[in-house]
Symmetry: D2
Subunit: 440 residues, 4 copies
């Protein structure tokens, strides 16, 4: 696409996407996403008069999907100008990129970029005609790093960075430790709405979907072992138990193990059940949780998949040996065949099942996107001095605000504290309602 | 395909399929299905020595899928010769048909037959060279009717008919009433293993899948109304509640309504909740359950689908009027748009959601297929006089046998009655274990 | 009490209870029961004008509890005259008996009758001054038998017998087979509302209660084995799983076993898990399900109890041997102590846990009582010839009517069939809505 | 009892209990409790050789129950000397106090102490012959306050205070702020094992029990509103939904409200549902949540109870007016009767339902008791300087240790990190396994 001459219907060519003609189709995808992202829409409405992002020039680098589309267009509606690239070379929805470009967002992204394309796109998003970005929205830290390295002058004038990923947050903390973070940054990865909604419910919703779409397995009576009983594991276990599976759990942490016990899951070592289970699911964030020795002992037809940390949890490399035959059954489904004919069903080659084999509920993405929009508004409007050159967690009040924006979708009605009660509890009537260490 | 000259690798051309070259791919599909149809496989093993179907010439007319493939090959393994056609002009898996033909089954079927093709295929299955069928396996009654009408001499010499569908069973009872059924027939539609497994669990498994694949909807907190709380409704409600939906039920039968109450579902009239629900699901077997007046009152984005009786439950015809715009969003998903912009999301044009938008768990199909195989064996081997020219229910003992063949998949271990206990309960140690009216 | 002179405040002394002075307290118990027995109350209202039992002289023999009180007073309100005795020498609530006597019902019953008292009471209920009963309501068949034996002339003139227990029904069928049943009788034990509500929900509600009240056991993470997965077993398993227990099931019937599998319970032989479980519950209706050999292998602190057939399921007799020490811990709770110090916690000496250690929800009793009232009305008013001298099941329409009378408690709203739909389904708009063999 | 001369069988009279003769009965209660408190027993075993509390002189003031008995005797087994009083004038189990006294613990406590007795007992526990306490275990802070005020010299030499209650912790923080805490203190109230086990599971276990024992209510189909969806509310809602109730939630905090939505509970204002619900449960920790205006609008028979903050949540005082009649139905159950005859069923006069009407699972108490024992060991053995004159939270490692001591009850088997994995995650193989802000 870099060589292709393309123009929007309005005559602009400050963008680079696969095919601008797909804009209409992409528009429809964005409209569908809007229907479940009512929090962003209502944010548009509430903040429309005042345009809290007027003057903001946001350079962004995220997955480019219908949901991000809704976010970007919300930022624009709030007054911002945006230039965007993709944080992953595979994940761009070309039609959505086209639709965004068509409405005037300078998008540089397509599905299947080369490494070189990737950096070129980032660079083009930073370095536009008569454009000097003053805010960064990043997912993974590549954009931030690029600006830091290549455009030190731009970097110094940035008013705030918002980062959503574990990795990106990690890189920010390192910059900060090294004394090189000269901009306030907001870590949205560790907010409650992320941890207790994205990790838990997203996985509760998608584990069944991912397994069904790829294998058509029946859940009733199936024996499953879930490795790791953190938020992701809790979500997977709840869904599987609810549909009649017999679920076992492995854990290293006695507190999480005790929770699993109280919820009626047997806590075992993987070796104790590996011969009998029908499905193995990893959700530990750890590496080498399922090893070749476990795979060797699984029964014929056992399904193995990963909901946790990409790639590392299942030792897939150990299966790429001559004595084992791989057979691609469907997209994302391999049968690995042992010399005696035993087949193990490996999903998504051990990468994240729900990213590869199912969709993520838009509603969950809406929560994250709303958090990002609020973080941008907060950083952009904060009075001088509220935020220093450091990494901040979203203030609890804003976490609560994000939640409150999502309640109307459920037609949920909050109760208000009376003056009397607020005084009794020592709380402000508008929150925050809990101490910082509250666990939810 | 009728004009195309095709030959199996062994030189036979007594078949008619789309493309015999797809046999290998079809073989793999059959092998995958075999992995969840262990009951049939174990039936093959148990009955292999004695070949209980030796001499049986079975003419069959069913959906032709990988699962039916496993059934047909089981019948062959038990000694039968088989000729087969499809009971539905769309449902044939061409690769499976090819694989069956390749192994020597005379199959006449392809996806997308014309009405004329349909009857031609049936005819070819009945009327083969040096072949006189003595058993019929039918799904819908078309084959039976054809034999009855066109081959009265063949008809008279049939030893037994096995029929699986509601419609086919209905037609058999009519023949019987009219005194024209001169063959014993077995109704497998009303066996316990069908009603309490196929209807209930198949729907519990597939409702979530069907909704997710077509709409990516999140279940948590969604308001759903399920019309009809029979077996299908019970399955849908259980799954949806388990994943956090708020479920309402409509019913006409006070007993089913009381069951819904005791399980924690509000029993309402459709009108009371139609404005507030996010999803409407019909499972009544009735007609005109969701009418235009209900559709008019639904909120924007409401999803409407049917798990019950094909076509009739939702008044889809009423939506095909000029003032409403239809927009095809994806395969099987239409947005019907009201003049004010409101969209209703209609799935599968009101046909069965799980047939159109999800897969049916192989395990459930295995139960039905095993029942059919046993019914064929029973009728073929029954001593003269055990069955008259009438329609029979599967003996409870065989229902129990079907169940017992499926227990090993779950590694389930049955307890045996002691002599003492059997005497106390007045039961035979090998069953049947319950009176006929037992409800399970 | 037989010797004691007692008079109601209105001067009557045609009764025999423990202490007529307790009437006021008993009245309050009846009033509390009325609050959950709204179906009977509404039956009173609906049928009040016409007095469908005017002229009925009902002699009854049932447990005498607050709930029966509501039933008897309903029968009176509908026009009947009643005389009553107790079907069990222990179960009479003396205060309720007093309250009934005080309002003019001729009650002969107290807690702790001797065998001789028992028959004396029955006799007094049959044989009153200027009283000739024409209807019988029986629980167990003792009253029926007494009338049959001692008052053949009365027996012949009875218009109908209503019997609620398994045993009583069994005796009626025997009379019938012997050609000695010269009265139409109604078997209310096998109605749907009994089987699918009383057995299932009553046990789902009371198993937790019975265990908690007697042992204070925590359910979360407890390993439980439930013997028998019929209606009672299904209820117990559902409740225990819901509160976080790990539940295993034993079964002899492959169909019930397959149901257990599909619901996520491991189906095992008792011996496989007996060493590891914390609780053993029998619900088979069988005998010798838990034997001494099992008890010997249980772990220290294991709780053993019975929800099924009184007395026979656990071989309690085998525990009454010199080497084992019994220690009564609380009412209904014994520790049986092995020589090595191991303790097994035996509840209610192996009798029905929920009768001994918890209460039965009034609502469930209301369903049974309403069924009885309707059966009496039906038999009393049936036109000559509708019922012969045989045992009948309640017509499905009345089963449905009983259910419908209980829907208002849940504020449940039934949908009505349109004419069109009724025709399509071939149903009467007022029911019955299902064929007789429907399984619910 | 203060005047009564009593002696243990060994001749000691350094104690004051109701009746030393009840010791044997109390011993049995302690033994029963030991069976579910295996963590303490195993702590006794592990630490027995080294006697980590040798030399410790612990003065304690807690509820005196069988479970505390197990704790105190564990402390003794670990080498400590103990003197004890009760933190509540009503909660002492006299038999247990007797049993403790009999084995040589100097106990001063009985059920029904006067205010004066209360302080006398505390004083006697502090001020014994040749006894100078060096550790305090307190529940509520009264003992600590007494020592601080009356025995300043003792106070200064205390090595550590362990406090379990919200109130006591609050008082410690105040002392600390005022600069008057000259002893390190441990706050065990805010440990994970408390918040996520005691609050959540204890309530999940006891809400059903409390309601059943007091009202025999059936749960299936009941409409319930739970005020507050914190840990206690989550536990109540989970249990009620699991048994078929229809549950509504009220909340002030949008995050908790969103959680309730995702779990399938409707979030409403109390007024929206107050007319239709069958049960109202408060769990907010707030005051005046259920007001007279709500009570006025409840339907006849509505049950009202409190699982949250003692006394304040329901405005019980507003019901003590002349126009309303109170009727005591059973212990802990009052009917409050409106002029029109409407009855509201008030449980435990609005005090904590599960303390008044059910039992708390021993297992949950075991977790708290074990935490206290470990906190005492930690403070007593900590090297000089590890703890200053401040209030500390239990180190996460000890929280994890408490959990691990409870895993054997469930026969749960922890997985161990490999060296490789520990390195990858940057964790010590023995924990702590999570950052401090982890939410579980
Ligand atoms: N699939 C998705 O959509 C999705 C969503 C969010 C997070 N994630 C990823 O899932 C992983 C888990 O996230 P989380 O929020 O549940 O984290 P978490 O820390 O809450 O849970 C992980 C759990 O695994 C346990 N564990 C670690 N090593 C183990 C081992 N060897 N065996 C057994 N248990 C072990 C830990 O003790 C911990 O309790 C992370 O890598 C995260 O990035 C995936
Ligand atoms: N999707 C599938 O995979 C699948 C599987 C089996 C059966 N089915 C079909 O589903 C339908 C239902 O099957 P089932 O076994 O549950 O039957 P069922 O008879 O057990 O249940 C249907 C229920 O709908 C109720 N009902 C009828 N009309 C109603 C109305 N107007 N409003 C509300 N409730 C009404 C009936 O009282 C009944 O309880 C049938 O048409 C059957 O062929 C579908
Ligand atoms: N506790 C109560 O309140 C209550 C209520 C209703 C019925 N009951 C009693 O409970 C018993 C069961 O009633 P139900 O309605 O569930 O009957 P059911 O026939 O539906 O169920 C009993 C089950 O036990 C199985 N079984 C028989 N012998 C067995 C054995 N040796 N091992 C394992 N499983 C075995 C049977 O196959 C059957 O599935 C009856 O005795 C009934 O009278 C108790
Ligand atoms: N019964 C027991 O055994 C038991 C056990 C532990 C704690 N508690 C008590 O229960 C109470 C709650 O404890 P928790 O751990 O759940 O606390 P929590 O803070 O987790 O939950 C209380 C919830 O109530 C909500 N709330 C406050 N005021 C409200 C109002 N007016 N309307 C609706 N919701 C409101 C808060 O937002 C909060 O989410 C405390 O008082 C605690 O001491 C009781």
């Amino acid at each position: 696409p870099r060589d292709k001459q393309q123009t929007t219907t309005k005559g602009s060519s400050d963008f680079c996407v696969k095919n601008i003609k797909q804009a209409e189709f992409g528009r429809r995808e964005i409209e569908i996403a809007e229907q479940e992202m009512t929090a962003l829409i209502s944010l548009r409405k509430r903040a429309q008069g005042e345009k809290p992002l007027a003057g903001a020039k946001i350079v962004g680098c995220t997955h480019i999907t219908a949901q991000t589309g809704v976010l970007i267009e919300t930022l624009c509606a709030l007054g911002a100008q945006c230039r965007w690239s993709a944080c992953n070379i595979y994940s761009t929805q070309n039609e959505v990129a086209a639709a965004l470009a068509e409405t005037g967002v300078a998008v540089f992204a397509w599905k299947g970029e080369s490494e070189d394309d990737f950096w070129w796109c980032i660079d083009r998003s930073v370095n536009g005609d008569s454009w000097q970005p003053n805010m960064i929205l990043d997912d993974g830290g590549d954009l931030t790093h690029w600006v830091y390295k290549k455009y030190p002058n731009v970097y110094k004038k940035i008013r705030g960075i918002v980062e959503e990923s574990v990795t990106g947050v990690h890189r920010l903390y390192q910059l900060s430790k090294a004394g090189k973070l000269c901009v306030p940054a907001m870590n949205v990865n560790d907010s409650v709405t992320k941890q207790k909604f994205d990790n838990l419910y997203c996985c509760r919703e998608s584990i069944l979907d991912g397994l069904k779409r790829s294998t058509d397995v029946m859940f009733g009576g199936k024996q499953v072992v879930v490795c790791g009983y953190g938020e992701v594991g809790k979500g997977c276990c709840a869904a599987l138990k609810a549909l009649g599976a017999v679920v076992h759990v492995t854990e290293i942490d006695p507190i999480c193990a005790l929770q699993a016990c109280m919820e009626g899951f047997r806590v075992v070592k993987l070796n104790e059940v590996i011969r009998q289970v029908d499905v193995v699911i990893t959700c530990t964030g750890n590496k080498n949780v399922v090893m070749r020795e476990h795979l060797d002992r699984m029964k014929n037809g056992c399904i193995v998949c990963n909901m946790g940390h990409s790639n590392t949890e299942i030792d897939v490399a150990s299966l790429r040996t001559p004595e084992l035959t791989w057979e691609r059954i469907r997209s994302q489904v391999d049968h690995v065949i042992w010399p005696d004919g035993k087949r193990v069903v490996l999903l998504a080659e051990g990468r994240l099942l729900n990213l590869s084999c199912s969709t993520i509920p838009t509603f969950v993405l809406s929560i994250t996107a709303t958090t990002e929009a609020l973080a941008l508004i907060e950083l952009y409007n904060a009075p001088e001095g509220r935020y220093k050159q450091d990494v901040y967690l979203l203030p609890k009040k804003m976490d609560e605000y994000v939640a409150s924006l999502h309640l109307p979708s459920f037609d949920a009605h909050l109760t208000e504290l009376t003056d009397d009660q607020a005084k009794y509890l020592g709380l402000n009537k508008n929150g925050p309602f809990k101490p910082n260490y509250y666990r939810y």
